[in-house]
């Protein structure tokens, strides 16, 4: 049971209010027609599965219904930060 800070509600809430939507920062190609099948397949299906720092998209489903991003350690389950859509993570695997 994670304890998640919703950046929109500006407080911690229990995990059962949220849904994880998978890897964050997947931008839809601006011109899908220009993508090869391989490129489109990459966008559709290929996802990171890192051990350690990972960026995920979540929705505060039972709360404000807003999406946001989370930086999470997949080993310790520590949530390093949550940040709004359009913002950049301040914690990355490199940092």
């Amino acid at each position: 049971m994670l304890h998640i800070f919703c950046p929109h509600c500006a407080e911690y809430r229990e995990e059962e209010e949220f849904h994880s939507k998978g890897q964050a920062h997947l931008a839809r190609p601006l011109d899908p027609e220009a993508c090869s099948d391989a490129e489109w397949g990459e966008y559709l299906y290929f996802r990171k599965n890192p051990r350690g720092i990972h960026h995920e998209l979540w929705i505060h489903a039972a709360g404000c219904r807003k999406f946001f991003n989370m930086t999470r350690d997949t080993v310790t389950y520590e949530i390093k930060e949550t940040y709004k859509i359009g913002e950049k993570p301040s914690v990355t695997a490199q940092s």
């Binding site: 500006a10 039972a62 404000c64």
Partner: protein, 216 residues
């Protein structure tokens, strides 16, 4: 023919019939009035339905000064822009639901009037949707009201983190609710119509150890 106003590419309509047709709240079948008169009169938890209120879902931009000014004029209350806050006057309560979403409650008979007023006066990109039929309002109070909320929702209801007038949308049992604290031992729950029967059974069950009083 019901009144429909089409303005700025959107419509609003009076959705209520003449007064001779009685509306039925989502808990109509539970006959709470009979329970109120025939059931226990004392207990640790009191539940009262506020049926058939006018509920309007407002979406707009809190950074748009013109909109914020217009809302204040229309409702007589400033738009509560802080997360999880609410504002109210004698006629209405506005609850923050998300950074661009609020739930306004007014007397059921006043909903259309307000919708029409927004239609005429609210500038910019917004939406105001009548959702009165989709919910009902329950008030839960008493010495053990807090305990029933704690059994039902994964939120901290301690006064220090849930002061009066705070609003949260959250999980409630296996459904959801919009919870507002009215006073220390007095909460408002706004629940969806289709889940109302389930939640009413839940509330009776969760209140049983404290004694449940139904008030009309």
């Amino acid at each position: 023919m019901s009144e429909v106003i089409n303005h700025n590419g959107k419509i609003v309509a009076d959705q209520r019939p003449a007064d001779d047709i009685a509306g039925q709240s989502p808990l109509h079948h539970a006959d709470l009035n009979s329970l109120a008169s025939q059931g226990p009169q004392t207990g640790g938890v009191t539940i009262q339905e506020r049926p058939l209120q006018g509920l309007l879902n407002l979406r707009c931009n809190k950074a748009d000064k013109k909109q914020v000014t217009a809302v204040k004029k229309l409702l007589g209350v400033a738009l509560p822009c802080d997360p999880l806050s609410s504002a109210s006057n004698d006629d209405s309560v506005i609850r923050w639901l998300s950074p661009d979403e609020w739930l306004v409650s007014v007397d059921g008979a006043k909903a259309f009037e307000l919708e029409a007023a927004f239609q005429a006066n609210m500038p910019g990109h917004y939406s105001l949707v009548n959702v009165s039929g989709g919910y009902t309002i329950l008030e839960i109070s008493g010495d053990h009201a807090v305990d029933v909320i704690k059994k039902s929702a994964p939120i901290d209801v301690h006064q220090s983190s849930f002061p009066n007038d705070k609003v949260v949308s959250t999980v409630f049992a296996k459904s959801g609710a919009i919870i507002r604290r009215i006073a220390e031992d007095h909460f408002e729950l706004i629940i969806r119509r289709s889940f109302a029967d389930y939640l009413w059974i839940w509330l009776q069950d969760a209140s049983r150890e404290y004694g449940l009083v139904v008030k009309r």
